[in-house]
C-alpha cells in the first residue's frame, strides 16, 4: 500500500510518500497507523496523537476505525485548512 503524507505530517516524517506492506493483523486504518508509527522516531512523533490526524483511503475521507479492505493508498494529514 502507498502511504502519502501532507502538511505537518509530511514535514514531521520527512517524506511525502512511502510504500508499506499491510500486515495480516492490521484490519483498520487505526491499526495500520499504529504499525507505521513504529518505523522511526519521526514517524512516532508525527503519528502519536490520532485525535489530531485525519485519513483518506483511496482518496475518500475515512475515520480510524474504517477497514482497510483492498485499498491502494492511505493518506495521513492534519485537519484541513483550505478556503
Amino acid at each position: 500500500m502507498k502511504l502519502v503524507y501532507f502538511a505537518t505530517v509530511r514535514e514531521a516524517i520527512g517524506l511525502s510518500s512511502e510504500e508499506c506492506h499491510v500486515p495480516q493483523d492490521a484490519c483498520t486504518v487505526g491499526d495500520l497507523v499504529a504499525r507505521i508509527s513504529a518505523r522511526s522516531e519521526e514517524h512516532a512523533r508525527a503519528l502519536h496523537d490520532l485525535s489530531r490526524l485525519r485519513f483518506a483511503l483511496d482518496q475518500e475521507m475515512v475515520t480510524g476505525d474504517t477497514l482497510l479492505g483492498a485499498a491502494q493508498e492511505l493518506a495521513i494529514f492534519p485537519p484541513v485548512t483550505g478556503g
Binding site: T8, Q59, T81
Partner: protein
Amino acid sequence: MKIVRISNAAIQPDQELAALTGLGGGALASFTGIVRDDGGVTAIELEHYPSMTEASLYRLIEAATARWTLLGAVITHRVGIIPVGAPVVVVGTSSLHRAEALEATAFLIDRLKTEAPFWKREHYADGSAKWVEAKASDEARAERWV
C-alpha cells in the same frame, strides 16, 4: 453545469463565475476568500492532495445539488504561494430564485473548509512560516449543514 478548477496561477473571480451567467437563473450568489494581512502575513502557501482535491470539491457540488435546485455551481481554488490581497477560493452558484443560491454558496464554502484536502501555511516578512491550525468555529459552521 458543475465546474471545479485547481489553479497554480492567480484567479479572477469574475472569470471563474462567468460560466454561471446565461443559464437562465434569476439568482447568482458567490463567495471569494482573500488572503488577509493577518499579523504580518506576507503570503500564504496552499498545499493540497492532487489526486483527491478535484473529486472532493466535485462531491461537495453533488451534495449541494442534491439538497438545492441549482442551475450551476463553480468552485475554483488556488494552490501554491498566494500573496496578501489575492483570491484563494471562489465559490459560485446559480438558481431560479435567491434562497437556493445564497444557501448553497454558504454550504459549499463551509463544507470546503472542513472537508477538502487543502493545508495552509502562513509566511511572514522575516522569512518564517507557520501552519494554520484548524478552527473549531469552522467545524461548528460545517455542522450546521448536517
